[in-house]
């Protein structure tokens, strides 16, 4: 058997293979693009409804599964500006924590604008918290990768305790206790970093007020 074919025959053959490819693709699309995602959705909605719908919470901190009753997701950061709140990290998602525009700043390690921004943020946070600029932790002056980082470092949370307690007229010790209770350690002792979820923390503040 020889290997030589005319170019014309090859073209015809390619058309036949493409047609077969299309049939194969359509059958596999039904399996992989319809049956598979719907099966996963079915299992998820039956067994893990809360997680599958976005780990949503109501204004009282209750777990809810419908966006209509929710004030947000504990997995997604929100903007908190007032002095009575714990503040999240700077965000490059839209105007800040815009879930329709998840993004980092994409600015490089030598970027002059980013350097100026970081320096400014350090001064701003130090002024707001009434501490020395050198006491401001790194997550307070850098934007996250997603722009939706729900967490801050325990150091940044502790730095904000005095201000939040003062603004709300509650004992600083109680606020500090909330931070400690809500601090998550590394998974399995080595995975990731310790962190505090800002939305959970701000929700918990309401229990102190009442």
């Amino acid at each position: 058997m020889t290997d030589r074919r005319t170019p014309g025959a090859d073209t015809l053959s390619f058309a036949r293979h493409s047609w077969a490819g299309l049939r194969v693709l359509l059958v596999l699309t039904v399996l992989l693009g319809v049956v598979y995602p719907l099966a996963v959705t079915g299992v998820a909605q039956l067994t893990m409804r809360w997680q599958a719908n976005g780990s949503l919470v109501s204004s009282s901190g209750e777990r809810v599964t419908s966006a209509d009753e929710a004030i947000g997701s504990v997995l997604i950061g929100q903007q908190f500006d007032g002095p009575q709140w714990f503040h999240p990290r700077p965000s490059a998602a839209g105007d800040g924590y815009d879930t329709l525009a998840s993004a980092g700043s994409n600015l490089g390690p030598l970027n002059a604008d980013l350097l100026a921004t970081v320096t400014q943020r350090r001064a701003d946070v130090a002024a707001a918290e009434g501490v020395d600029p050198s006491a401001v932790p790194v997550d307070a002056v850098t934007a996250s990768g997603s722009g939706l980082d729900p967490d801050i470092s325990p150091a940044y949370a502790q730095l904000q305790v005095a201000r939040v307690a003062r603004e709300r007229g509650v004992p600083a010790l109680d606020v500090a206790a909330l931070v400690e209770n809500l601090t998550l350690g590394r998974d399995l002792g080595v995975l990731g970093e310790p962190r505090v979820d800002v939305l959970r923390l701000n929700l918990a503040l309401q229990t102190l007020d009442s």
Binding site: A20, R23, V190
Partner: protein
């Protein structure tokens, strides 16, 4: 425990899981790709597809099937992107423009998953699950198919170049390997907090009284195969940095394992298919050496945090999530760039100059350490042939690999395969830096801007898909040119590898002699690693010097 030991522990857990998984998974891949019987569901499928899964194809026919299937895939995906507003589950998304649809279609079919668009703002649920996610499975299955054909070529002799049946390879690797694994992983990811629903994005009022959208989508089912298939295309723009794709440190470690597990299991399959497990071990050793070196260097760079901004900020946390920190971000960055996955859990544009350089080199090594699903292994076999040939030149004997003579035809195919990617990367980058449309895409000028451009072409030409996200690539110029780079970077090596498989399958086996270079020894592993580094070094040193090296020194 110091930060260093915690980072080592984190890498150690990933290594342990991979070490435990690669044998059973490699054996399962071997059984799947050498099976003689069809499952009932497969037989039903073949009947509906009207293809013959038992016809042994010559390499050229096999290649036509790969190309025909890929053409159909590009056309269907292009159509889905152009018409998404007319189809169900569009959740209000507009159709993509022609250049953007072309880029997206090519990107997912070539296992690149370069994304010029933001998923949450540009892709409806149907396009994601019936378009992108389907190609996440199938482009990975094509990789497994091609490397299986190559392994059959090596293990056969004296045939007329028959290397298997593409349709059977495609369907089996999907149905028996990728689909069951992805299903289990998807359910586990939901438990960690990855969403899985068909809701549209819904506006709500936040605790502080602002508006925000709650995102919906079948994310977990796509996330699972995105990592397993070394695809990397995020459901959302922020990819695996997004809390709905990667909510916790343990899901992050799981995702790192997933993107490495099939590429690291492939050598085991290969060793068994060519009838000598030691060959698999030596390939695994070479892959692991390069991967662990990159992980070590990148972790060191990010934890040390050199450079103006990291120094001023007190750490390299720009573009990184608090739950991951520097170490878990570096582990992910090294693994994703060395597997041709291209998912990111931190923004690579904001990596330190040294860290970003390692990520770039990780891709420029040609995605062989361990590389993409299937493509990593066939890329490595190509480099093995180069190494054997070089060693043959040194001692003046006709080189051979696993009983196959490496003659003029074989080395020509291999040389072309090795040169394709550098040609794509360097020519593409050169066009971009001399045209206004190319230069306009940079977010930052100077060496960092050059790195943004070279990174984009390295990512496209190697079918990686990660980005220095500052580059504005959603323009007709970049969409068209990067689309071409992805196509050439994917299908030219596949054609050459299948031709090589055909040559091997038609050769007679030469008995091992005194002059045969054993390819399972530590010495050979060292030679292979050196060849991999030298090929890249000689090709890319000039451009790396002008980009990340200059930046590191300033």
């Amino acid at each position: 425990m110091s930060a260093t030991w915690i980072a080592v522990g984190q890498i150690g857990i990933v290594v342990l899981v991979l070490a435990a998984a690669h044998k059973p998974l490699g054996d399962h891949l071997f059984r799947t790709m050498t099976a003689t019987k069809h499952l009932r569901v497969e037989r039903l499928g073949y009947r509906a597809m009207r293809v013959d899964p038992d016809a042994e194809q010559r390499w050229s026919t096999y290649l036509l099937s790969v190309l025909g299937f890929s053409l159909a895939s590009v056309l269907v995906l292009f159509g889905l992107a152009r018409l998404q507003d007319k189809l169900p589950l569009d959740i209000g998304m507009s159709p993509m423009d022609p250049a953007g649809s072309w880029n997206a279609a090519v990107s997912f079919v070539t296992n690149t998953n370069w994304q010029w668009f933001s998923g949450e703002a540009a892709a409806g649920h149907l396009l994601q699950m019936a378009g992108f996610a389907v190609q996440n499975f199938l482009s990975a299955a094509v990789g497994i198919a091609v490397v299986s054909a190559l392994a059959r070529g090596v293990s056969r002799s004296g045939t007329d170049g028959r290397v298997g049946n593409f349709w059977a390879d495609l369907v089996r690797s999907t149905v028996r390997v990728l689909l069951p694994l992805a299903f289990v992983v998807a359910v586990v990811l939901v438990a960690g907090g990855v969403i899985q629903n068909l809701h549209a994005h819904t506006e709500i009022t936040t605790l502080a009284g602002q508006t925000q959208s709650v995102l919906g989508g079948p994310v977990a089912s796509q996330e699972a195969i995105k990592e397993l298939g070394t695809n990397g295309g995020g459901f959302f723009n922020a990819n695996s940095a997004h809390p709905f794709e990667n909510p916790t440190p343990w899901t992050n470690a799981l995702e790192v394992v997933l993107l490495l597990v099939i590429p690291f299991s492939m050598p085991r399959m290969f060793g068994q298919m060519v009838g000598d497990r030691r060959q698999g071990w030596s390939i695994l050793a070479a892959m692991s050496t390069l991967w662990i070196a990159a992980v070590g260097l990148l972790t060191w760079a990010e934890m040390a945090g050199p450079g103006l901004v990291p120094t001023a900020a007190g750490g390299a946390m720009e573009g990184k999530e608090v739950r991951f920190g520097e170490a878990a971000s570096a582990l992910f960055a090294a693994s994703t760039t060395m597997t041709s996955t291209g998912a990111v859990n931190s923004m690579h544009d904001s990596l330190t100059a040294q860290g970003g350089g390692v990520a770039l080199v990780g891709m420029l090594l040609g995605e062989v350490s361990p590389g993409g699903v299937g493509s990593g292994l066939y890329g490595m076999v190509v480099l093995i042939v180069v190494a054997v040939f070089l060693a043959g030149l040194m001692v003046g004997r006709t080189p051979e690999y696993l009983g196959k003579k490496i003659g003029q035809r074989e080395i020509t195919l291999v040389a072309l395969a090795v040169l394709t990617m550098p040609a794509v990367v360097l020519i593409g980058s050169a066009i971009a830096v001399v045209t206004p449309a190319g230069l306009a895409g940079q977010l930052q000028g100077g060496p960092h801007g050059l790195t943004e451009i070279v990174y984009a072409f390295a990512s496209a030409g190697n079918n990686n898909g990660s980005a220095f996200g500052g580059l504005t690539s959603g323009t007709p110029f970049y969409n068209t040119l990067l689309g071409l780079a992805m196509l050439v970077g994917r299908f030219v090596p596949i054609a050459l590898v299948l031709a090589l498989a055909g040559r091997f399958a038609s050769q007679k086996r030469v008995p091992e002699g005194a002059g045969t270079l054993p390819t399972h020894t530590p010495l050979f592993v060292g030679l292979l690693v050196t060849v991999t580094l030298v090929v890249v070094g000689l090709t890319f040193v000039p451009v790396l010097s002008l980009g990340p090296v200059v930046e590191s020194l300033s």
